[in-house]
Subunit: 339 residues, 4 copies
Amino acid sequence: MDRYKVYILGATGLVGQRYVQLLARHPWFEIVGMAASEKSAGKRLAETGWVLEEPPPPEVAEMRLEKLEADKVPKVDFVFSALPSEVAAKVEPELAAKGYTILSNSSNMRMEPDVPLVIPEVNPEDLSLVEKQKAGRGWRGAVVKKPNCTTTILNLPLKPILDEWGIERVHVVTMQALSGAGYAGVPSVAIMDNIIPYIKGEEEKVVAETRKILKADFDVYVTTTRAPVLDGHLEVVYVDTKRDFGLEAVADSLERFRGLPQELKLPTAPEKPIEVKRQIDRPQPRLDRWAGKGMAVVVGRLRKLSPRKLAMVVLGHNTVRGAAGNSVLTAELMIANRV
Amino acid sequence: MDRYKVYILGATGLVGQRYVQLLARHPWFEIVGMAASEKSAGKRLAETGWVLEEPPPPEVAEMRLEKLEADKVPKVDFVFSALPSEVAAKVEPELAAKGYTILSNSSNMRMEPDVPLVIPEVNPEDLSLVEKQKAGRGWRGAVVKKPNCTTTILNLPLKPILDEWGIERVHVVTMQALSGAGYAGVPSVAIMDNIIPYIKGEEEKVVAETRKILKADFDVYVTTTRAPVLDGHLEVVYVDTKRDFGLEAVADSLERFRGLPQELKLPTAPEKPIEVKRQIDRPQPRLDRWAGKGMAVVVGRLRKLSPRKLAMVVLGHNTVRGAAGNSVLTAELMIANRV
Amino acid sequence: MDRYKVYILGATGLVGQRYVQLLARHPWFEIVGMAASEKSAGKRLAETGWVLEEPPPPEVAEMRLEKLEADKVPKVDFVFSALPSEVAAKVEPELAAKGYTILSNSSNMRMEPDVPLVIPEVNPEDLSLVEKQKAGRGWRGAVVKKPNCTTTILNLPLKPILDEWGIERVHVVTMQALSGAGYAGVPSVAIMDNIIPYIKGEEEKVVAETRKILKADFDVYVTTTRAPVLDGHLEVVYVDTKRDFGLEAVADSLERFRGLPQELKLPTAPEKPIEVKRQIDRPQPRLDRWAGKGMAVVVGRLRKLSPRKLAMVVLGHNTVRGAAGNSVLTAELMIANRV
Amino acid sequence: MDRYKVYILGATGLVGQRYVQLLARHPWFEIVGMAASEKSAGKRLAETGWVLEEPPPPEVAEMRLEKLEADKVPKVDFVFSALPSEVAAKVEPELAAKGYTILSNSSNMRMEPDVPLVIPEVNPEDLSLVEKQKAGRGWRGAVVKKPNCTTTILNLPLKPILDEWGIERVHVVTMQALSGAGYAGVPSVAIMDNIIPYIKGEEEKVVAETRKILKADFDVYVTTTRAPVLDGHLEVVYVDTKRDFGLEAVADSLERFRGLPQELKLPTAPEKPIEVKRQIDRPQPRLDRWAGKGMAVVVGRLRKLSPRKLAMVVLGHNTVRGAAGNSVLTAELMIANRV
């Protein structure tokens, strides 16, 4: 089949590089162009400070980055955006009005009621907001958002628990990877031999986005911290359920959890969106972040602390499942579902 | 005045080195000997792999380590023990029976009802168990324990909150320093670019010891993790109080908290046992672990999440306040109080 | 074709795990068994503390480890040994006498004149020592050694330079990865925020082995240090050549270098054994250690400091090219060459 | 005595903070003001992202930073400058012309023949250039430079070797700390689990400055790398001497080395400018960087590799001896010497 043409905005950041990595050899997509800030415009991708664990995909390593200009984006099927939120807030609506379908990583617009905020396994039905968005705004295109990385990793295991046992409240403490702050986000002098117990804006996002995604009104208490880890957000979660549960039943429910992407066998869908580890000292960021090619979350240390209190440790790859991978999977779902 | 004579058991480990550091220039104490494992016996202290941030105190750098033998410990006023728990379980009762007063860092005996488990600012009254212990066991000496490092750092700020607002339950997630596991405890290959979400035996200790120290029966839910930080345990704590609180009142209560060691102006007592940080991104292990010369805990990110739910981040130096320093302060209290 | 049967000694260490990873899906080899120390014997491989970046290969994850006993090793075509040298010194000769062909990672026997010490691209001719070894020792099998990891990574780029310009002397300073010391080799408390400027026995090995491999008598001055890096040894090398050189000619010679494994298209042979980086800040361990699937060394910062003084920075994956990968490639060469 | 009034330019950077730390309680100096970039101007020092291991000195914690304006610097005895070089290149000459004596950390002007580039123990005589500078430029004040941090740490041990045995050539490889690049200089994502084998402009500086300081024309071959270490530059040095040497004689010569600052008992002068370590695995950055309160360099691994080839490992605190401390000591020397 002819491949869908895609364009990447903000291709040189850490999430942008993941987009490139995931899309360059994707069976359904073809990268026809990439835009970046003025500093990188005109350079070949390979010259722009690629820092992922593998070199830039040869398919696009020689492609030249273009300067980001909304009226020069070529005609494509999907635009993947990893722009800084303040830039995205201007560029994305402009492109959507012109007819582009934008899968966006940026935090602007996430909480607007006509904007889908989608984890494909959890709330695929929210993609139907696209039609409402187009109609209400008079846009020919649309903006589809992925949640904050911490939210996505948290919501995947909460979904089957919510469905089977109900949730009263959740206490969360995260230890988040450096890549979540972008390439220059955390100076080495700030984080070596250290932990920083605050990430600007993060806690509010997790609370608000979780409610929007799960359509549930339980309380979410979150403390987010930055740890000296390259990739992989670890989250310690205490869940007060509405109904009593069995520990094995929870483990089983998490392991058997499947969503529409698995049903449709989408190319980027992990076989199991949630993997359950039985070893007592897992999940660990460095050992488990690549589960399901970075698209699965790994749950461990399942403990029943009282009749309706569950404890668990959750890990996910923040720039794959938590960012670029989630958007690519969403685009696949839109194609498969003809949204 | 003549100084009290002290002896150190297990002087070459990370906690043992802190004992040496704190006691070598202490105004009240004089180190008259140190014992270590067979491997180090006979060596000068300076030859035994000293790894603290400052060199061995010149006063004792040339002192030779003795082989640990219970019947060769000289007559001293206090024995400070940083032995592995399985060794301590044999040696400490033997020494206590003979008349030695042992301030011990090891986890054996901590939960026995006649054994004081003391944070000097929190439960100094438990030192009265010493007499009960001697009488009940027919010992001429006694064993006095310091709690697990994580427990000590947690209980200091819980104490004033408990006293003023009552506590219903506590959710805790820790990020603990490498030094807490001892010199060879965590291989570098295991922890670089990683977090390990499990520390053997730790969670059970925090729960049980907190109840013993605070004499309270609220629920304590704890998840302990190991992070790539040299010194300083960080603890994220959610406290459900019994009564509504004001955030400033809590901050004020923590800052004003003083205990018997402050009243008695003991040499190792920090002026403020609890420091409250107003900067939003504190406490941080590397920047705050030396508060009060390592004897203060630092509390930050105080938040009121609902009428009776408080969130805070607590930090303490695990081998000073959490270990050797707490025991030295306890010995000072015993002297001042003529226990 | 029928695959060659192989057995792994010391399968649970960091090099042992690399052997498993490389051999489990190898087109020519089939793992028929694995031995480990008493502690791991009887366990399934997946239960034994696997720490590589990818999970244990499913082909062997359920295979049970056997206790190392020289007289219970099954009949196989090759034995790959990652035993501690003091164990290897006893076991390997015993197995060789019985007829096993042993590809060994351990340092014992390396300098014996009838023992091949082989980098397949550099000195494949030394495999002919196998016949001499068998004859001289009356063994039915033989021991073939791979050099010290630092030696291998150094000698690959020295070889084409030696051949074209001659070498007078070499000054080397290394920054070596933690995995080179084995899983528990470097405590985290020892190396975080630190460098250790000494590795026991390493410098002597590099000097002696380089002379044996290159059959050259130039002076080698080496200082080896341990750095907080997981995988990948970095080596800064100053080469005094015998003849004047052009910088581009050297770069070209390194890039064009090919050996017998490339000629024979052996499965584990990297297309280019030496990759030359032009970016001024490369090679870097984290970004370049997987060049050629860990089998290529990467050279950068080529500088001409005086008419016959060349500077360069060399990087190689210490447990792949520097250890298990080099031995697997050697076995392939023995098969192809019918040694 | 009345204390000399000093002013600090660029007080919020890592070197600026060291200036503050060293000068706030200095027996001879009194900080009367501090200037910083527009971003920090008007803030109290304690509010500006202090990151050293100890909190800001209480003496100046509440002092407000001023905006850097050359015509608003108050009348002081010394100006200590930690400005970025491009800012310093404009501001320093302007201030010097007006009559200020500037002790500067920045790299501009270092190689100008009338500018002293001083390590107080090594080339105190070069302070006499101040008069020449004033006369030649018609300035009422003067600019005095400290060398690049790597140069200073290297030149201290080279000096006694040069004096006693002569030097033919030197090969150097450095592993430099993160603080040397400034607070935001090295992103954590760039350096974790990594080494970067290039530091812009550094190698050229070490070569040129060494020749100026030691007034010697031997060859200096340098490769500088960045390592994941907070403070403390490690340098592996091979010295080809002109005359044969005894290893103990070299150790002795280094240990006995004293300069004018020691003779004059200047307050910041370490008792021994060079400490020699006999333990085979020293110096190490984390354990040895505070030798002589950060003002001593530590030398270890002294080896004689051939009759006239010496190897050694050198360590120094890059922001103390390598930067602020060296300038403070220079100011003390100017006072004592009435320059």
